[in-house]
């Protein structure tokens, strides 16, 4: 199967090094840097906004634009952290205070430089893991039946709930709401219309792209409007050669770099948790194992190195389950999976047989995007002050009109805009009240897959629950899933008993 032959590689190179594709990559890089650098515009939002743009592109440039824009956005999120004390994307939030403290100490150049340099190294590490792990996993996944897929989906949903920041109960509510949305329409194993109220628009199920544009973009625009009167105050920083001193830092903190990249890739590959959670965890790990933990929070570069590498490596890690199983590793790949289906690159283990050149072209784009980050990132840091001066009262409306056009174009109907509006409000209210959005999105994307594999397994097993554990891989996945579900339950029970006693 997915043996990488010279012909496949040559075809992949030809697909990527085509003038049209290279222009798309360059344009999406600039777009991603801008979206990442402006607080309130996130990498996930960039992906949602790119979907309508990629609608009529061939598969490889369509996917390439998303890969490039998100990689750039996650790095660029570090820029306003250093200059405004505001994360450009949630993935930088973990070390925003640290980066800003460095700028205040006069080390802004070093903070920006390590954001860029270690983002690139982390991104390349994650890409290397993606390239080696995905085909191997696909080989194993070829033998999976509905039992294995059922557990895999459930494991993904469970880890999405429990890895989300904050209250797992609210994460569970979010997930269940997502599953409820997924069950609307005719598209279920019985082919029976559910929750359609006789409406033709609902019979086909709710289209996910307008919903995602609503939850990831419209909700952020609403939040931006509520904060329109808060001024952005820029810290003064003298910025010369941002790469100055990077090699010394790499030699001084090699373990931090490696640990951040490994943890980031792993968190990325776990469904539901993406770059933001990877950065929080890596920052905490870095402080825990540091020789000088007392320096954390005072403008110390160590945590920025580890978490900065971590969030960019998570980006590539998330593509592993997305490509191999069709299970998104983060919110970005949740959107990407929809695009893959539209483009005929159906995710699943057979993607390495049916579409090998395209998949390897995507891998090449990952490498290219991370290499391109060096010159473009330096340019973005130079242009940061201009980018951050973009007037929000113009930016927010124009982006919203973009969203409207995108939501309309998917089905060529105003119903998409209505969906976008409704889910924009829902997403805003959820986030304001501490309900994470990622589990809901994962539920919507995986709901049909969960139900289908559950029902067909039940029919095969004739209702015998033990059959779910009889195949070796299914059994181990099942035990693992139950463990993931049980641990936080026990933990919260013990904690509540502790509270009652205290």
């Amino acid at each position: 199967m997915g043996v990488l032959s010279a012909t496949v590689l040559a075809q992949a190179f030809a697909l990527v090094f085509d003038p049209y594709v290279l222009w798309v990559i360059l344009a999406s890089a600039v777009f991603g840097l801008f979206v990442g650098a402006v607080p309130g515009l996130t990498a996930t939002m960039a992906t949602a906004l790119l979907v309508p743009v990629t609608f009529f592109m061939p598969p490889v440039p369509a996917i390439a634009s998303i890969v490039t824009a998100t990689a750039m956005a996650i790095f660029a999120g570090d820029i306003p952290s250093c200059l405004l004390r505001m994360p450009g994307t949630p993935a930088s939030a973990a070390y925003t205070d640290e980066a800003y403290a460095m700028t205040k100490k006069g080390q802004g150049e070093l903070a920006l430089g390590s954001g860029l340099w270690f983002s690139i190294l982390g991104g390349l590490f994650g890409t290397a893991v993606l390239i080696t792990a995905a085909p191997t996993l696909a080989e194993i996944a070829l033998k999976f039946s509905s039992f294995e897929y059922f557990w895999l989906v459930l494991l993904g949903l469970a880890s999405a709930v429990f890895l989300a920041l904050g209250n797992p109960l609210k994460g569970l509510v979010s997930l269940l709401l997502g599953l409820l949305v997924a069950s609307v329409g005719l598209d279920n194993p019985a082919g029976f219309p559910r929750f359609t109220f006789g409406n033709a628009e609902l019979a086909g199920g709710l289209t996910l792209i307008p919903i995602m544009i609503g939850m990831f973009a419209v909700s952020e625009i609403l939040r931006g409007a509520t904060r329109i009167e808060q001024p952005w105050e820029m810290a003064q920083a003298r910025i010369g050669n941002v790469l100055h001193g990077m090699w010394t830092l790499t030699k001084r903190y090699p373990w931090q770099l490696l640990r951040g990249s490994v943890l980031g890739t792993a968190i990325g590959a776990l469904p539901g948790a993406g770059a933001d959670i990877a950065a929080w965890m890596s920052y905490a790990v870095s402080k825990r194992f540091s020789k000088e933990p007392q320096k954390f929070g005072t403008g110390h570069v160590e945590g920025i190195i580890e978490a900065g590498a971590s969030n960019n490596s998570a980006l590539a890690g998330a593509w592993i389950p997305a490509l191999v199983f069709g299970i998104p590793g983060d919110s970005i790949t949740a959107i990407v999976i929809g695009v893959l289906y539209i483009k005929g690159l159906n995710p699943g283990p057979t993607i390495f047989m049916n579409n090998a050149p395209s998949v390897y072209a995507i891998f090449l784009v990952f490498i290219l995007a991370n290499l391109l980050m060096l010159p473009l990132g330096i340019a973005a840091i130079r242009a940061a002050k201009q980018m951050l001066r973009a007037p929000r009262e113009i930016l927010l409306p124009v982006i919203l009109l973009f969203c409207v056009v995108g939501a309309f174009a998917i089905n060529n109907s105003a119903f998409g805009v209505l969906l976008m509006l409704a889910f924009g409000v829902v997403g805003y209210l959820m986030e304001e009240n501490g309900f994470p959005i990622a589990p809901a999105i994962l539920g919507m994307v995986l709901g049909a897959m969960l139900e289908e594999n559950f029902i067909s397994s039940m029919i095969k097993a004739d209702g015998r629950v033990l059959a779910f554990f009889e195949r070796p891989i299914a059994g181990s996945l099942g035990v693992l899933t139950l463990a993931v579900l049980a641990v936080p339950l026990i933990y919260s029970l013990r904690r509540s008993r502790y509270w009652r006693r205290g």
Binding site: V173, L179, A190, F195, L396, L401, V405, I459
Partner: protein
């Protein structure tokens, strides 16, 4: 459904049970912390923020209702003008931004990327 043990109601039924249980648990945990029933967010006191949010939501609803008749170009310019103005720009900035941004979206999406836009009353002159 006859002849099928696991019909279409199975899955939504499980989800409903889960949601009901979570709802009860949330009410209990909030009651234990003596949380308020509802809180008014701070931005509601800012006139500009309140007007902005209202204009964004109302404008989107108006788009859904009007676009099939009025077409993208008129509604787009009108909505952008409303939004940019309410969020705090002067009319001298607002009008050029609304017209230029709508034209750019027309060129980028309709011409370059061939994304469908509703023309409405302008259908006859679509180009």
């Amino acid at each position: 459904m006859p002849g099928q043990k696991f019909g279409p109601a199975w899955f939504p039924g499980l989800v409903a049970i889960g949601l009901a249980l979570c709802g009860v648990a949330l009410v209990f945990s909030a009651a234990r912390e003596r949380a308020a029933w509802a809180e008014v967010p701070a931005w509601i006191r800012s006139h500009r923020a309140r007007a902005g949010v209202a204009a964004l939501l109302g404008g989107l609803l108006a788009y859904v209702l009007l676009v099939d008749r009025a077409g993208f170009h008129f509604t787009g310019i009108a909505l952008l003008a409303l939004w940019v103005r309410v969020l705090g720009a002067s009319w001298r900035v607002t009008l050029p931004v609304a017209i230029v941004a709508t034209l750019v979206i027309h060129l980028a999406f309709y011409k370059l990327l061939r994304v469908p836009l509703p023309w409405g009353v302008l259908e006859r002159w679509a180009f």
